[in-house]
Symmetry: C2
Subunit: 193 residues, 2 copies
Amino acid sequence: MKRIITISREFGSGGRTIGKGVAEKLGIPCYDHEVIEQLVERSGFAADYVKSQSEYAPNGSLFVNALNAGNFHGLSNQDKLWTMQRQIIEELGEKENCVIVGRCADYILRDRADCLKVFIHRDFQSRAERIVQVYGETEVPTEKRLKEKDKRRAAYYQFYTDQKWADLANYHIVLDSGVIGIEKCIDIIADLY
Amino acid sequence: MKRIITISREFGSGGRTIGKGVAEKLGIPCYDHEVIEQLVERSGFAADYVKSQSEYAPNGSLFVNALNAGNFHGLSNQDKLWTMQRQIIEELGEKENCVIVGRCADYILRDRADCLKVFIHRDFQSRAERIVQVYGETEVPTEKRLKEKDKRRAAYYQFYTDQKWADLANYHIVLDSGVIGIEKCIDIIADLY
């Protein structure tokens, strides 16, 4: 069984940066946007469409899609993408030791790999400051943007995993990256591996 | 401002053992049962009564008391004990650097000390095994005992702090002591201090 670190995170908490740092320190690959890229390739959908149907969706229709999906016998595009994403993650989990950021990997690999399940969070205000620093300003006010992303991520996770988002029972270690610091989070996780 | 480590924990997770281990490693005191002892002394109530009205209550009436408390102008005994407990914890938080296990110290000291807020959890089955090992069998079946303690602790915490119990947003670090191991938990927390 491969040894995988899954990193779930609140938007703006620095979870992706931490994932990359841990992977670098351990000399193993870190998968994040690579999953989206593979999804674009396999699905034949346009990259923007795939992103808009994933947890990265910039605005709105995800939850509605997810609900509608249950009302039809065929699979919605949303559901097809979920199925492909699950396959990609399962393949990663069988291929090599690695870090996987987001994408419900903690749930998908729960019985298939020796997972260290990590959750990264941070207080709202400091996430708001961080996303402006890292991603820049957009037309949507920062607070609104953050709240929407939080809602979207939680809805996506809960719909497809049937588990509550951000429930500490699902994680082996949960870190507040604002208080503990990104570097220290990397050290602790890499050391635990 | 004193530097305090507060350890909240699920019953049977080993949080108390971890608290003591951290305190020993750092050469600072660990307060746990000492708070109850002071509470007995100050309140003049019998030790068993104080325990039965606290989160350690072996059976039942806590939540009912907590609800009733709101219906009277005077303070219930439960509320008096909470007020005294809060004072004891506030005094500890002003006196010295220390570890405090349970007793809503994370909430009570939130603006009064430089707190590292820790939560320790562990899966239900392994907690059930651990409480039999540590506390021995009782007449009440282990699973029932565990579920009641969980409910009591959550109700107590939520009633007096107005915060959700076991909400990861309230903690700087959350550790699964079953997966990570008691010794490793001690190392990580002591190192973070």
